[in-house]
């Protein structure tokens, strides 16, 4: 599960900034950050990379074996993949389903969710399965955490400039 939690210790900061940070920590703003996170993970995975642990580096997803590539060549694949491309995309449902799964003050989580049209396992179960098979993707890399932090800083500046 990809989760981002804003720092709780800001009492030492100036009053105006404390107010802005309290505003950013509100559920609606955290949900907005979650949408940003979901887009990051979806795009990075479609580019062919996974992340094994939160804060870790992104790594190319394991290559597909030849047999599976031949099978994929016969399928009606999403336009965001090719038969030989390892990017956890076949119909596109798994990555399309990544969304905010929970949010509260100062914290938001994202991940795949919901049922699939093929009637198989849920997107959550499929995500767990592919991670167990050596293709974890639902974690934020170090640079992605920085992107989320920079997005939160933008929201703070917008509030301060109002």
């Amino acid at each position: 599960m990809a989760r981002f939690r804003l720092s709780k210790s800001f009492e030492q900061l100036g009053d105006q900034l404390q107010d802005a940070l309290k505003e950013v920590r509100k559920k609606d703003n955290m949900k907005g950050l979650g949408t940003f996170m979901a887009d990051l993970i979806r795009k990075r995975t479609r580019l062919g990379y996974g992340v094994e642990v939160t804060g870790g580096p992104r790594k190319p997803l394991d290559a597909l074996n030849d047999k599976y590539k031949l099978l994929r060549a016969k399928l009606d694949l999403s336009s965001e993949t090719t038969p030989g491309r390892s990017n956890l995309t076949r119909s596109g449902q798994l990555l399309d389903s990544i969304q905010v799964t929970s949010f509260k003050e100062g914290e938001v989580s994202v991940g795949p969710k919901g049922n699939r049209t093929d009637g198989g396992p849920t997107n959550e179960k499929l995500a767990e399965y592919v991670a167990e098979q050596g293709r974890p993707f639902n974690n934020l890399s170090g640079p992605e955490i920085k992107q989320v932090q920079q997005e939160a800083a933008k929201v703070v500046r917008d509030i301060l400039e109002k």
Binding site: L13, R44, R58, P143, E144, Q147, A152
Partner: protein, 169 residues
């Protein structure tokens, strides 16, 4: 490993600034570079050269939701996210990348116009690592040397925003 001389840049500023002020000014410089690059402009304020046909037709381009008219050096967003203030000393601020980071290699490719090849083309260069004199002046104006209290307050606020939005450990 990227070459330090391409992926790190030293920016000169007045020597009178304290360490805290230098860190804050550096932070504003990297934030400015991110925003200017997102707007499609290089270190001199000129538009980046357009993307190649091969890149525009690639799956990566499509997956990243890019459009051919928007040259902003952003695919995953990681490269510009890790651009950072590396160090400061009286009179100077060093910004850029750790040469060993994977993003540094991408940065070097853009800066030199090499993109994974041995040699680069100046016509393909997208050098974003630097700041125009007027833009630097505008940032330094927020840290007035003749009003140290205001300068220190600005520095504190700039650094506090970064601290306040960090991830909770």
């Amino acid at each position: 490993m990227a070459d330090k001389k391409y992926v790190q840049k030293e920016i000169k500023i007045p020597k009178a600034y304290s360490r805290q002020e230098r860190m804050a000014i550096g932070q504003e410089i990297v934030d400015y570079i991110r925003a200017r690059t997102a707007d499609g402009r290089d270190k001199n304020g000129s538009r980046f050269p357009g993307y190649s046909k091969a890149y525009i037709n690639s799956l990566a381009f499509k997956v990243a939701g890019k459009s051919k008219g928007e040259v902003n050096l952003k695919l995953s967003g990681d490269m510009l996210a890790v651009l950072d203030v590396l160090s400061t000393n009286p009179g100077k601020i060093k910004i850029g990348f750790d040469p060993g980071a994977p993003e540094a290699g991408r940065a070097e490719g853009n800066i030199r116009g090499t993109y994974g090849q041995a040699s680069g083309s100046s016509s393909k260069r997208r050098d974003f690592l630097g700041i125009e004199p007027k833009a630097l002046e505008a940032i330094l104006d927020r840290y007035p040397l003749d009003d140290r209290a205001a300068s220190r307050e600005r520095a504190q606020e700039t650094l506090d925003i970064v601290e306040g939005t960090e991830e909770d450990e």
